[in-house]
């Protein structure tokens, strides 16, 4: 009775107005500065605007057709994709093992190690890349000369053979911290009883890892996979810090390509069409993420 009374009262207009007013600031700011830009982005992708001229023409789908034949688009697309595959693969696996070791580590050093391993997540990626740029160009060659080690005595970023690897290493260095924490949190959800009884039944460490820990960790692996995949496909800061996409366009990732097309080559219409393509790639990943996480719910049920 009291409950009905409560909801009836809430239904009258005087009580509902404050609820509506509460949503207004968010709705307005969100619509003007996020939804309108998305719509504008789609609109500009059908134009040939250069960003400066007062006029431009509608060119239909020409920008998208140009993408198909644009070799710098192909190059940056493939570069970003191969870059992302390496980075994601390494981060998903190495941070998993780091978390497994960290979780089972019996030592006074455990908490100190945990704290230190998280530090890269606190530093701005742009600063991380500037520090590593100095390490690659100054510290490592110095070390190579001091130790008389041929491989290190040159700048690793100056050779095309090692350049991509140096960038990927920087990405892994700072991209590992959060996955390790996510995995560590996940490992604590593995029920101790199952783990201990398997131990008593004589399952060795690798068996326990494979048959007990990993099945429990699949949802976390999915999260880490999607998270690092998105980060790696969008990589911008560390490219700008290390190479600015150079030499030439050899390390130009997709985000850097959009940036350069719009603000350095003044092809705003074309750059907008690149963004629209990226929008659909991200949409596919989002759908994939939803599929993966709903599967997780089925498993849990």
């Amino acid at each position: 009775m009291r409950l009905m009374n409560f909801y009836q009262r809430k239904d009258n207009i005087v009580n509902r107005l404050p609820y509506f007013l509460f949503t207004v600031p968010c709705l307005v700011i969100f619509t003007i500065f996020l939804i309108i830009p998305i719509i504008l982005g789609f609109y500009y992708s059908f134009t040939n605007w250069n960003g400066i001229a007062p006029t431009y023409d509608m060119v239909g789908l020409n920008n998208f057709k140009d993408q198909l034949s644009d070799s710098s688009f192909h190059y940056s697309f493939v570069f970003t994709l191969t870059y992302a595959l390496v980075v994601v693969f390494v981060i998903v696996f190495i941070s998993f093992f780091t978390a497994v070791f960290l979780n089972g580590f019996r030592s006074r050093l455990k908490n100190a190690y945990k704290t230190l391993l998280f530090f890269p997540a606190l530093i701005a990626p742009i600063v991380v890349s500037l520090i590593f740029k100095q390490i690659y160009s100054g510290v490592l060659p110095w070390l190579g000369k001091t130790l008389e080690w041929e491989f290190l005595s040159k700048n690793l970023m100056a050779s095309m053979d090692t350049l991509k690897g140096t960038i990927e290493y920087v990405h892994m260095w700072y991209g590992m911290a959060i996955p390790v924490v996510l995995y560590t949190a996940g490992l604590q959800m593995v029920p101790d009883e199952i783990y201990e009884s398997a131990k008593i039944d004589g399952a060795n460490f690798m068996h326990r890892l494979w048959h007990i820990v990993i099945p429990y960790m699949i949802p976390i692996v999915n999260i880490v996979f999607i998270l690092t995949l998105k980060q790696a496909l969008m990589v911008y800061d560390i490219i700008m810090g290390l190479t600015m996409g150079g030499p030439g366009t050899r390390t130009q990732t997709y985000s850097v390509f959009i940036y350069r097309s719009a603000f350095m080559n003044f092809r705003v219409g074309y750059a907008a069409s690149l963004s629209v393509t990226l929008f659909f790639i991200m949409l596919v990943i989002a759908v994939m993420q939803m599929k993966l996480s709903s599967k997780k719910d089925v498993n849990a049920a």
């Binding site: 509506f20 998305i38 504008l40 982005g41 580590f105 100095q134 999260i223 999607i226 949409l283």
Partner: protein
């Protein structure tokens, strides 16, 4: 500990020590290089400073543009944070308590569905919009940060407020409490843990961000945030890396202090942010 346990611990010890060394070596370099004169660093990067040398920090801190960029960074961190905490829990409360109504259900879907859109996708139209509205400056960046923080924060707050029992609302209303009193006196105080989480994840983003400042604040050096300043004064022609490292070191201090004093919230905030992706 049995034999297998000992063996595991030995492997873990070796593996983790290597991992920690890989992580802290660049940070160690950052600290010792910023505490040494340039000549000493060139002679031996890794050596500890022979005496207490603070000239690098003094030089960095005496730069007028540096202090200005620190001020801008504080502004673009504090104001969006305050605004997000002011408007988002409010909206989340309205949505969480009216999910069965058409408007609120669709408002929620409308805002949440944008979560997967990364900034690079709308970078160009945002720059065009801001230049048309004449806000390619620090206040403009603040508004953009607010707009871009709403979806994730709303997601977290709606989830949190839905778990606050409705009995509380009911008894407050029976006691004659209006909706806004109910929100400010009862719901908002109960949101404190989530406010801390959202504050941490967003302040790390605002303070460390590079892409938005570089596209929106490049009109004048007076607008630079710290990250942008550090990038722009990385001129290879006349690059004094001891000064650069000192400035990176100083820029890290606020977040390191935050981490060491509230590590629980930092870790929780970053993982909550990550799961949203």
């Amino acid at each position: 500990m049995n034999k297998e346990g000992k063996f595991f611990n030995l492997i873990a010890y070796i593996y983790l020590t290597i991992a920690v060394l890989l992580v802290i070596t660049p940070l160690y370099l950052l600290i010792v290089v910023s505490l040494k004169p340039l000549e000493d660093s060139v002679r031996n990067f890794f050596a500890l400073p022979s005496s207490l040398y603070l000239e690098n920090f003094k030089k960095v801190l005496s730069g007028d543009l540096y202090m200005n960029s620190v001020k801008n960074s504080v502004f673009v961190t504090v104001f969006p944070l305050a605004a997000v905490i002011m408007i988002v829990p409010m909206c989340a409360f309205a949505i969480a308590r009216n999910m069965h109504r058409f408007y609120y259900k669709w408002l929620y879907r409308y805002i949440i569905s944008s979560i997967f859109v990364p900034f690079a996708v709308i970078m160009i139209p945002v720059v065009i919009l801001c230049s048309k509205l004449n806000i390619m400056n620090v206040p403009g960046l603040i508004i953009i940060y607010i707009a871009f923080s709403i979806n994730q924060a709303l997601f977290l707050f709606v989830g949190h407020i839905r778990n606050i029992p409705r009995d509380l609302d009911e008894s407050a209303v029976i006691d004659g409490c209006g909706v806004s009193r109910l929100y400010f006196k009862i719901i908002l105080p109960l949101c404190k843990p989530m406010i801390a989480t959202v504050a941490v994840v967003n302040s790390l983003w605002y303070w460390n961000d590079f892409l938005l400042p570089v596209v929106l604040l490049n009109k004048s050096q007076r607008y630079f945030t710290l990250a942008l300043y550090q990038y722009m004064f990385n001129d290879p022609q006349n690059y004094q890396f001891n000064l650069a490292f000192a400035s990176y070191f100083l820029g890290m201090i606020p977040l390191v202090v935050l981490y060491l004093s509230a590590s629980k919230y930092v870790v929780r905030g970053l993982t909550a942010g990550a799961i949203k992706g």
